[in-house]
Amino acid sequence: MPFSAALRKSLQDRDSEAPAEFSRGDSLEEVLNRHLLTVERMGGDDVFTCILLLSPDGKKLSYGAAPTVPPSYCRASEHIEVGPRAGSCGAAVYLGRPVYSVDIETDPVWADYRDLALLHGFRSCWSTPIRNSEGTIIGTFAILHRTVGMPTNEEIEAIELITGHVADAIMWSRDPHYFIRRETHRSGKPLLSLVSDNQKAQDPADRLLALARQLELKAGDLDRYATQWESEATAMHVKSAAQLSRKLVASIMAQIERIRLLESGQ
């Protein structure tokens, strides 16, 4: 899988599109599938990618997305118990580090799923834990191949890049405030300062970020008003205003991504 500026650019484009996709109601699986298909398109014919999500108790993995992995393979490995013999993904979570299985036929970590993988023609699998912003493992990103082999340094760098983007998408799906918090963290300015300095902010991305934060707060307030209002018609309009606020937040976050891309010259 060649690593290039093109992959970085494609993933950044995906980042800017994801908020709007979530906002219009696309599922996490749909958004992740688009991420993975972007990677597979650039990776060549022998690249099958999947994302497994970790259960809240940290014991089981289930498919979050696997756009081109055969459905029969996914069905037969639908719930993977985390462990040292549970394939590259189960072992990656168990060990808390990437597990690159160079040859599935001989690698002990594939003891529980070896026959299934070989039956589907898979010979190597490189799996990396996906972590949230606190560093907790929330899933795995894996690349399966029909040939044996070890990733090159460039490929490992690409995998780390992909894993970061996938983590962002998962975090966003679980917390609509996530991108705002991430951008605020990147800008290095506290949220309250951004809001109060809104009119003075000169940087377009900072100004938009402050506005997004303000809209998020308003959306939360509107949700609360909607439950308190006696008139159904008014409550409906208030809910509608909250929805519009959140749509605008998603759109603003996409604009911020685009501005950051232009600023970085990519």
Binding site: L215, K218, H237, S240, A241, S245, K247, L248, Q255, I259
Partner: protein, 66 residues
């Protein structure tokens, strides 16, 4: 993959225009919500709240539509 300077410039202009339009709609919505909040403490809904909200939604849909 790299865009020509002209292409980059046109992207920048398009991006700026789109961002400023969205920013304008967002600011209008914040104003409308604040007006709403100021009035509801007295038990009243601002006049034409629904109409102005519908207009904003329409403008936003035009800007945000994929």
């Amino acid at each position: 993959m790299s865009a020509s300077p002209d292409e980059q410039e046109s992207t920048r202009h398009y991006g700026d225009a789109s961002a400023s339009e969205i920013e304008a709609v967002a600011n209008e919505l914040v104003d409308l919500v604040e007006e709403f909040e100021a009035k509801i403490s007295g038990g009243h809904v601002p006049a034409a709240f629904a109409k102005r909200l519908a207009e904003l939604r329409q403008t936003a849909q035009r800007l945000i539509a994929p």
